[in-house]
Amino acid sequence: MKKWTALALAACGFVLPALAGIDLVTLPERDSVQLTIYNSADLTLVREVRKLTLRKGLNKLSFGWANTLIDPTSLRLRAVDKPDAVKLLDVAYPPRINSQAVWNVQSEVEGEVLVEITFFTSGISWRAFYMATLSQDEKDMLLEGYVRVTNNSGEDYANAQTRMIVGVVNLIDEIADLARRKEPYGRPYPEVVMAAPMALRMSRAPNAMALAGAMDYAEEASPKEIVKEGLSEYFLYTIPGTETIPNQWSKRLPSFKPVRVPVVNLFRYDEERYGSTTMRLLFFKNDEKHHLGETPLPDGFFKVYRTADQQDHLSYEGATPIKYIPVEQEAELNLGAARGVKVEPKLMKIQTDQYLFNGTNGNISGYDQAEDWTLELNNYRDIPVRVEVFRRLRHPYVDEIKPKGELASFEKQDAQRVKFVVELSPNTEREITYRVVYHEGDRRERR
């Protein structure tokens, strides 16, 4: 059932005191409709094309949208094929009539004119999600990406060209709030925001169109592959052809063909971020080398499984949200607390020396404190792993740190943070030791 397609044409010369007594002509269905759905905000740009029969002179077009979630301030009308002959004079939102606009259109031509009507609606959303299946040796994963479009707008969309936007738009007002305003632009004095119309909260039984839409998809010979392109700071995902998304229905579509992506199994110990728990992470890069890299990966939820045996049974490894990953950037999947890898830092020795004393009162004014630390690393798993250990220094007044043990790398990240990277073979343990010499008090000045 259409709710905002109450588009009607009144003959020229009408004055619309309260839209009473007007001979309204119901127009044909929209010829085409395009949905551009955003995921960073509750916002969809709807663009529909209709064929209107205009008279020469002034035409009044009435457009109603009761019980929907459209933003009346976004409504626009444009003649597609005869822009010079068909001019929009102004838009009136008649008094004391909710959810209605009247376009005053001056036409130099008589007959059929193709017009484009655009507006924002809330209630349609999309999100990305991923499924990854790690190989048994965990060196790569089969990555599948999906998008899921959900329509809770109060309107059925049949045969709509469906596009999705990846990116963050700046919004001043929530579209849902604008849709609920009694007057389209509010009043000159503060207004009260109306509660959502009850009709929008009511669930509706799947209708014939919904079932037809679902069947359309089932009858596809092969899954559609989304076409992606960059525009400004956004990525535009276009589903080829059209989709039917009835109100209250969702539709899931693959966003790219499954790809096998090499991954780095990484375990991280960082007390500042995770406390004393070692976390398990998977790393891959959104680049060609990893069989990706054509477009950014939109933020979404990642579910990770592992092939558990030769019969391809699955073991669930964990789930995590991922951030938006630009092309060429590394992606980090945090699968939670690690079970098979343990990191334990231990302070093994404290030694102080180089004491300084205050010349006047004899109190201690400075000293050096050396701390010997051992990092105990255990890999209980039967595959090799990489471990990152971050350590925070109490303050930046330290001597250069020279760790001992078999390290892949060591880096002083900033004035107070160091990073150790260790590669561990299956079922091995290793110790890394390091000494930190802190300069306290006046010793900070006398080095």
Partner: protein, 376 residues
């Protein structure tokens, strides 16, 4: 339904309190002008012809169901200005009304203009920008939105802004009307990313959520760049971008303030996530420490090294404005890029990034004379 009435009371007569006699209703107003140049108040001016007799005349101006600032009501005699004189104005008790006493040298038809501030009617301005696919240029349309909740119906009123010709518009009580009043095409866009060290996290890799960098379009309100005829009123700007397939996408909206001629209309459209800024403090050390007799530090300098790594993951070049802050007294030992000092503590670096570029900015500086306690 008229809520405003002008009634000619005729020759002066003694008017007992509470028994004002309203004699003759005058013809409707000739023209009504709604002036919307001030967002804080709307001036309504109406012109009428009064048939005045020689001597003293009283004209009653009353209103119901509307809110008029009584002190704002003015009467101007347009013609014959030299023969008609406004003597005084009285306000009857308990009414929305006033009475003008006019003195007329001879009987005449006097054209007068009545003006007043009317509540509940105002205007908004909204803008729609449509950028080219390559973001080089933008078409800008501006719409006037007249919101009439004044209690009065206006039919064919002349609406005047602070520039341009007046135009005719009707707006009934509780009606809102929208009309295009500015349309410019091909305005050049200057696009910049803006990262502010006090607003944005320094190390986005340590956060679980994305850190976007605000993206701005700047449109110069100058004649040379295709605008510059008038100031641009404040109002919501919605920006779309052509997608190369005959359609557009919405790229964001902003609420910029009033833009005088010569200034830039700056629109924050959204956030870019393909330009990543990671900033780390590599050195942070107290030097030149001075102590008091209790051995407490009372004065010191602080040497600092800040490294800012900027990566452009995009296939297009990008311009990034980095705003850094160094509070107090300071001396820059070395900065790897030129900067503009915006004030004593604010430094602005303009970084031109090529596609897939990576640039590291280093700031090696000393903050001097940091006092740990005030004078005693």
């Amino acid at each position: 339904m008229k809520k405003l009435a002008v009634i000619f009371l005729g020759l002066l007569a003694a008017l007992p309190a509470g028994a004002r006699i309203k004699l003759v209703a005058l013809p409707d107003r000739d023209t009504t002008m709604i002036r919307l140049d001030n967002p804080a108040a709307t001036v309504v001016e109406e012109e009428r012809v009064l048939t005045l007799q020689k001597g003293l005349n009283q004209v009653d101006f009353s209103w119901k169901g509307v809110t008029i600032d009584q002190d704002s009501i003015r009467l101007a005699v347009l013609s014959p200005a030299d023969k008609v004189q406004l003597l005084n104005v009285s306000y009857p008790p308990g009414e929305g009304a006033l009475v003008w006493q006019l003195s007329c040298a001879e009987a005449c038809n006097a054209k007068v203009r009545i003006s007043y501030l009317l509540s509940g009617i105002d205007r908004l301005v909204t803008y729609t920008g449509t950028a080219e696919k390559d973001e080089s240029k933008l078409d800008l349309e501006s719409f006037l939105v007249l919101r009439n909740f004044s209690g009065e119906d206006f039919i064919d009123a002349q609406v005047r802004l602070d520039y341009g010709e007046p135009f005719s518009m009707s707006a009934k009580h509780e009606e809102t009307r929208q009309r295009l009043f500015l349309s410019k095409t091909g305005l050049p866009i200057v696009k910049t990313f803006k990262w502010d060290a006090r607003e944005k996290p320094w190390d986005p890799s340590r956060l679980d959520e994305n850190v976007g960098i605000p993206v701005y379009y700047a449109i110069a309100n100058t004649e040379a760049k295709g605008l510059g005829e008038n100031a641009l009123w404040d109002g919501k700007v919605r920006v779309f971008q052509k997608d190369g397939h005959g359609s557009t996408i919405f790229v964001g909206e902003d609420n910029p303030g009033f833009v005088p001629v010569g200034e830039d209309l700056e629109i924050r459209v959204g956030e870019g996530r393909d330009v990543v800024v990671t900033q780390r403090q590599k050195v942070n050390r107290q030097i030149n420490i001075k102590r008091n007799s209790s051995n407490d530090i009372i004065l010191y300098d602080n040497e600092e090294l800040i490294e800012t790594e900027v990566e452009n993951f995009k296939d297009q070049p990008a311009v990034l404005v980095l705003t850094q802050y160094i509070p107090g007294e300071w001396t820059m030992r070395e900065a790897s890029l030129d900067y503009e000092l915006k004030d004593h503590e604010t430094l602005e670096f303009r970084v031109e990034l090529k596609p897939k570029d990576k640039i590291t900015l280093k700031m090696d500086f000393v903050r001097s004379n940091i006092r740990t306690r005030d004078l005693r």
